[in-house]
Chain length 127, copies 2
DNA sequence: GCTTGAGCTGGAGTGCACTCCAGCCCCTAT
DNA sequence: ATAGGGGCTGGAGTGCACTCCAGCTCAAGC
C-alpha cells in the first residue's frame, strides 16, 4: 500500500504517518524502486490500535514503549500484557470520571430548565 | 481565602489560578489592603466544576465561553444549558470509546496470557 | 520530452495549556 | 530594623503532539 492509501484508510495524515515512523510508533516499511514507502496492509490494524490507545488517553511515550516491545517479539509478551493491564486500570478510572460528570450534566440541565422557566426573557413589545 | 489556600484545596497551583483569571475562567477576586487576592470560598466549587469539565475533555475555549456566560447572569441560562447538553453528548461518545477499548484490553490481556504460556523464557542454566 | 503530481528529507512552526522567572512590594516574627 | 516568606506583575519558556514548508526526485500521461 502507498502512504496515501494508508492515510485515507486510517484517517491519519501522510505527515502524521511519517512522524509516527520517525518517533518509532511504526516500523519503517520497505521502499519501492523509487524509494517510496510500501506498506503491508497489516499496518492498518496496528495504526487503528494506536489510535484507540491515543483516544483513551495513553501518552505518546507509552505508546512508543509498547511499539518497541512489540517489535522485539515474544520475549516481551509479559511486559506488554502488564502495560495493557495498567491501561485497563486507567480506562476504568476515566469511566468513573465520565459517568460522574455525565450525571452532573444531566442534573445541571434539569436545573437550568427550571431556572429558564422562572426567568422569562422580557420580549420586546410592539403595542 | 488567600490564593495559597485556594490552591491547596483545589489542587491547582497558584500560577494556574492566576492564569485562569487572566484568560477569564475565574472572575478577578477583590483584593485586600495590600493588593493581594482575597477569594470568596464559592470559588472552590466553581474551580472543581471547571476541573471536571477539563477532565472530561472540554476545550479551554469552551470553558471560557461558559465562564463568560455565567458571569452575565440569568439572561444566558438557555445558552449555558445548551453547552452542557452538548458536553453531555460528547461524554456519551467518550464512554462508548472507553468501553470498547476496555473490552479490547481485556481480550488482549487474555490473549497475551495464552501466548506467555506457550513461550516459556529459556532460563539461564547453571549445571 | 515535458509537465504534473505524488512522495521524499530535514527542519522550522503551531496551538494548547500551562509553568517559570526576575524584580518588585508588603507583612510578620526575631 | 531587618530577614524571610508570601504575593504581585509582565513576559518568557516548556512539553506535547503534531503540522507545515522548501526544495528535491521520480514516474507516468499527454
Amino acid at each position: 500500500m502507498k502512504i496515501s492509501e494508508v492515510a485515507a484508510k486510517t484517517g491519519l495524515t501522510i505527515d502524521t504517518l511519517r512522524f509516527y515512523e520517525k518517533i518509532g510508533l511504526i516500523t519503517p516499511p520497505p521502499r519501492d524502486d523509487a524509494g517510496r514507502r510500501s506498506y503491508d496492509p497489516d499496518i492498518l490494524g496496528w495504526v487503528r490500535f494506536l489510535d484507540q490507545l491515543n483516544a483513551t488517553g495513553m501518552k505518546q511515550a507509552d505508546r512508543i514503549r509498547y511499539a518497541r516491545l512489540r517489535a522485539q517479539g515474544p520475549a516481551t509478551y509479559a511486559e506488554r500484557r502488564q502495560m495493557l493491564e495498567d491501561h485497563r486500570t486507567a480506562i476504568a478510572a476515566q469511566l468513573v470520571q465520565l459517568q460522574d460528570t455525565l450525571k452532573l450534566m444531566d442534573q445541571k440541565v434539569v436545573h437550568y430548565r427550571a431556572l429558564e422557566a422562572q426567568h422569562i426573557e422580557p420580549e420586546p413589545t410592539h403595542d
